[in-house]
């Protein structure tokens, strides 16, 4: 076993591309998460009212309404037909995420993402077992349950427990005991279930995945011929079941990651020392020939994960 198998995940990429280059999308993503949070916090903290409201519903610059489409859907099945403002806001959000990828919300906007990312980072550092791994389809069942409960009780059901809007609202309006819920999710992801909340349970992510299932923005393993099987992308990907079909597909299959579960977080692009992955659109299914400028290095022993 070579010494390389004990390198931390992403070490080779750091050596090749430098630390910044190997964390480009991670840094961009944190910036984006902070940016969206800051937009909401500028008002209550500094009196600069760019955006009012929360992720559930907001008004930007007094003209642009945005509404969470899942909350609207629950409201409708609960028996309330929302006013036009909310419907327009929901439609704008729906169309935007349908184009750029529904789960872009999860990795670039959602305030819970840094929490579960931190839990996963620590999980990897402590080398903990993956723990309880319910099926990836569990979140779809949870989504269906949420809609059924909303219909039966006439209450927007998921908002009674939704940690996303609770944390967001808590930061903007006052948190109460939301920190306990966030701590609970952190501990759950750290000790109980790796990638448990965002990857298996959260119905909001499931819903956004569904809306983005035909989205344009895609990660592609264009340069898959260069893959040296270091497995770093599998280690960092929060939905790593989506990589194989694109990366290990037989010749002639698409290199595009077309699964609606992909959050377009770009970590696979970051940690790949040989630049297998890149962002592209869903119609760009070209595969770089092995003779491309980046030559495939010699295959080497795979790192055990």
């Amino acid at each position: 076993m070579s010494a390389r198998t004990h390198l931390p995940v992403g070490q080779e990429a750091i050596q090749v591309k430098g630390w910044i280059g190997a964390h480009r999308f991670l840094l961009l993503r944190r910036t984006s998460q902070l940016f969206f949070l800051a937009l909401f916090l500028l008002g209550p903290w500094f009196g600069v009212w760019v955006v009012q409201g929360t992720l559930a519903g907001s008004l930007t610059l007094g003209v642009l309404p945005l509404t969470d489409p899942l909350i609207l859907l629950q409201s409708i099945v609960a028996g309330h037909w929302p006013e036009l403002t909310a419907l327009i806001g929901g439609l704008i959000v729906l169309v935007a995420y349908a184009l750029i990828g529904g789960r872009v919300y999860c990795s670039w906007v959602c305030p819970i993402n840094p929490v579960t990312d931190a839990a996963n980072w620590l999980h990897r550092k402590l080398d903990l077992p993956k723990g309880w791994q319910p099926k990836r389809s569990t979140r779809l069942w949870v989504l269906a349950t949420v809609l059924i409960v909303s219909a039966l009780t006439g209450v927007i059901a998921w908002e009674l427990v939704n940690p996303i809007t609770m944390l967001h609202r808590g930061l903007i309006f006052g948190a109460g005991f939301v920190w306990a819920m966030i701590a609970g999710i952190f501990v759950f992801d750290l000790f109980v279930s790796r990638h448990g909340w965002c990857g298996h349970i959260c119905p909001v992510g499931a819903f956004y995945g569904l809306i983005g299932s035909k989205s344009l923005l895609r990660v592609s393993a264009t340069n898959r011929a260069a893959c040296d099987d270091c497995m770093d992308c599998y280690a960092v990907c929060p939905e790593n079941q989506i990589i194989s079909p694109a990366l290990k597909g037989k010749p002639g299959t698409t290199p595009l990651i077309l699964s609606p579960d992909c959050t377009n977080c770009g970590r696979c692009i970051d940690v790949c020392a040989v630049d297998v992955f890149n962002f592209t659109h869903r119609f760009d299914d070209h595969v770089a020939a092995p003779s491309d400028p980046v030559p495939a290095p010699d295959a080497r022993a795979a790192r055990p994960i």
Partner: protein, 272 residues
């Protein structure tokens, strides 16, 4: 021998097992969620919804908890319920009259801000708002009921002389003063809470309650004879003989009422 497609096929068995497991999990999770949803409907009596709020059950199907009404409230009356701190459904807007009452803005900015209609946009006159009903709950401590002229709740009422009036009554204690009883008229009271906020007592004697607690209801078949008579312009049944009213006398307990009926005979035990 392949069992695929037959009732014994392992794929079929696994599919059924997985589905049953998922459905079972969903029933458990869904029941917990439904229990929370039922719990959320129990709005505490002190928590008042903003003007135009739909009835509580409809409100919880319509409010997306975005907080835009809170932002547009110029008096910081409204707040969003915090998890584990307020007993109100988390994230929904409410106010506590004794802390900050509703100032009843003419343009009702909170209703205008609501994107979903959880605050009914049909409410265009704040005087028609029904956030609750003021009730003078403590007649023993209310200063006006003690015969004093506090009148503060009456003076601060934005719908003065309609939602709260002062009704005079005889002051039995002094024997020759009037009491000015603050009297709420529920059909005009908006439940803004100015009276509760302003009550001078350490704990308000007048409080805004949700209508479900504040009000009784009259039975549908009840008719007030005097109103019917007035509307009819005379007795409802012709030819009724007006019998003389019975005066105090034997069999009643007010034989000694000054100026009352004096019997022509003495009853034992009646001190004269």
């Amino acid at each position: 021998m392949s069992l695929t497609g037959t009732p014994l096929s392992p794929q079929r068995r696994r599919f059924l097992q997985d589905s049953a497991r998922a459905a079972g999990g969903c029933v458990v999770a869904g029941s917990l969620l439904a229990w929370l949803a039922r719990d959320a409907r129990a709005l505490p009596a002190e928590a008042l919804r903003p003007p135009g709020a739909l009835p509580e059950e409809a409100f919880l199907s319509a409010c997306i908890r975005c907080g835009l009404c809170v932002r547009d409230c110029p008096y910081d009356t409204l707040k969003l319920a915090e998890l584990g701190v307020d007993a109100v459904a988390t994230g929904t807007p409410y106010f506590t009259a004794r802390d900050v009452p509703c100032e009843m803005c003419d343009d009702i900015p909170c209703v205008a801000a609501c994107p979903t209609g959880a605050l009914d946009p049909g409410l265009d006159n704040i005087d028609d708002a029904k956030m609750g009903v003021a009730v003078l709950v403590d007649q023993e401590n209310c200063l006006n009921f003690l015969g004093l002229r506090c009148d503060v709740c009456y003076r601060v009422c934005p719908v003065i002389d309609e939602a709260i009036t002062l009704e005079t009554a005889h002051n039995d204690r002094s024997g020759h003063h009037a009491m000015f009883i603050p009297t709420v008229h529920a059909d005009r009271c908006t439940g803004c809470g100015m009276c509760e906020k302003s009550c001078v007592l350490p704990e308000a004697a007048i409080k805004v309650l949700p209508a479900r607690l504040a009000r009784g209801s009259s039975a549908d078949h009840y008719r007030k004879g005097w109103e019917e008579k007035e509307a009819h312009g005379g007795p409802l049944v012709e030819g009724i003989i007006d019998l003389p009213d019975r005066l105090p006398g034997p069999g009643t307990d007010n034989l000694t009422t000054p100026g009352g009926f004096t019997p022509s005979y003495d009853l034992p035990g009646v001190g004269q």
